[in-house]
């Protein structure tokens, strides 16, 4: 997974749970969980907007890029 979602870190920093965030952004817990576990194939701008609004962050805070070779090395 080259693109990673730092939802865990942001939730911990803001003292929020996944369920609370799901309620706030109007998403299902299942979809948010897919995003958190880096299983998502793509993310809509509308989803990104809602997450950034509720977490008070920038898209760059939420997303990160890990080169494939690093990922393999880490594993």
């Amino acid at each position: 997974m080259a693109i990673t979602v730092h939802l865990d870190r942001l939730l911990a920093e803001r003292g929020l749970t996944l369920t609370e965030l799901a309620d706030r952004v109007g998403m299902t817990l299942a979809n948010l969980s897919i995003l958190k576990t880096n299983k998502a194939r793509a993310i809509r701008f509308s989803t990104l907007t809602a997450l950034c609004r509720e977490l008070d962050c920038q898209p760059g805070d939420l997303l990160g890029y890990v080169p494939e070779s690093h990922e393999v090395a880490e594993h």
């Binding site: 793509a42 993310i43 989803t47």
Partner: protein, 218 residues
């Protein structure tokens, strides 16, 4: 307003699924009915074969003939039209065989029954997912491919069976002016249908990937 719009879409979706739901139910009934009737029928035939003291059993098979030119012809009542020469004919041959061959015939029938039930089962599972509104699954792509393969293999098997029966009959029966047609002839149109079904399976497999992409787009 929005709720009404979505409500209408849901009702339309339900209406759209009525036909697949009906088909799924019909296929379920047909499959279980056929499985029961064929299963019971095969058991009864096996028991009859096992307990029967008769040294012979009757067979009634479809056969194809090649007629010697001029042996059979149709006369026209119209003086402007000449007589028609019959070159090929299809019919049935009814005869008795030693009881031991009855087991072979029963085994062939059992294989045919299992084959038909297998194809119907795949269709049944396929229609169930269509009725549930989620036809784009990897399992369905495999099912459609299996149906395509079954159509091709089934047609080849039918041709082999007809050819084998004709060869066997030719070795045991003879008549003046009539020869049993022993050409191995699978129907090209049926084989093509099998190929088309396999092509559709590939399209469904690609559709499955699109569905996956859609499901994992958050």
């Amino acid at each position: 307003m929005t709720r009404g719009k979505w409500g209408g879409a849901a009702a339309s979706s339900r209406r759209g699924r009525l036909a697949p739901l009906l088909l799924a139910r019909v296929l379920n009934v047909v499959w279980f009915g056929l499985a029961t009737v064929c299963g019971v029928g095969l058991v009864i035939m096996a028991v009859l074969l096992a307990v029967s003291a008769r040294p012979h059993v009757s067979l009634d098979l479809p056969v194809f003939f090649v007629l010697e030119p001029g042996a059979y012809h149709l006369e026209s009542h119209d003086p402007g039209i000449g007589s028609a020469v019959i070159t090929h004919a299809a019919g049935r041959a009814a005869f008795t065989i030693p009881a031991g061959f009855g087991w072979v015939a029963l085994a062939v029938v059992a294989v045919l029954v299992v084959f038909v039930l297998f194809v119907l089962h795949q269709l049944r599972r396929l229609s169930a997912t269509v009725a549930a509104g989620r036809p784009f699954t990897p399992d369905n792509a495999v099912r459609v491919r299996l149906i395509g393969i079954a159509v091709i293999v089934g047609e080849a098997g039918r041709a082999v069976l007809e050819w084998t029966i004709s060869l066997w009959l030719r070795g045991h029966f003879a008549a003046a002016g009539i020869n049993l047609d022993t050409v191995f002839a699978p129907r090209v149109e049926v084989l093509l249908i099998g190929v088309v079904i396999m092509l559709l399976a590939e399209i469904l497999r690609l559709g499955t990937r699109l569905q996956e992409d859609h499901d994992l787009t958050i």
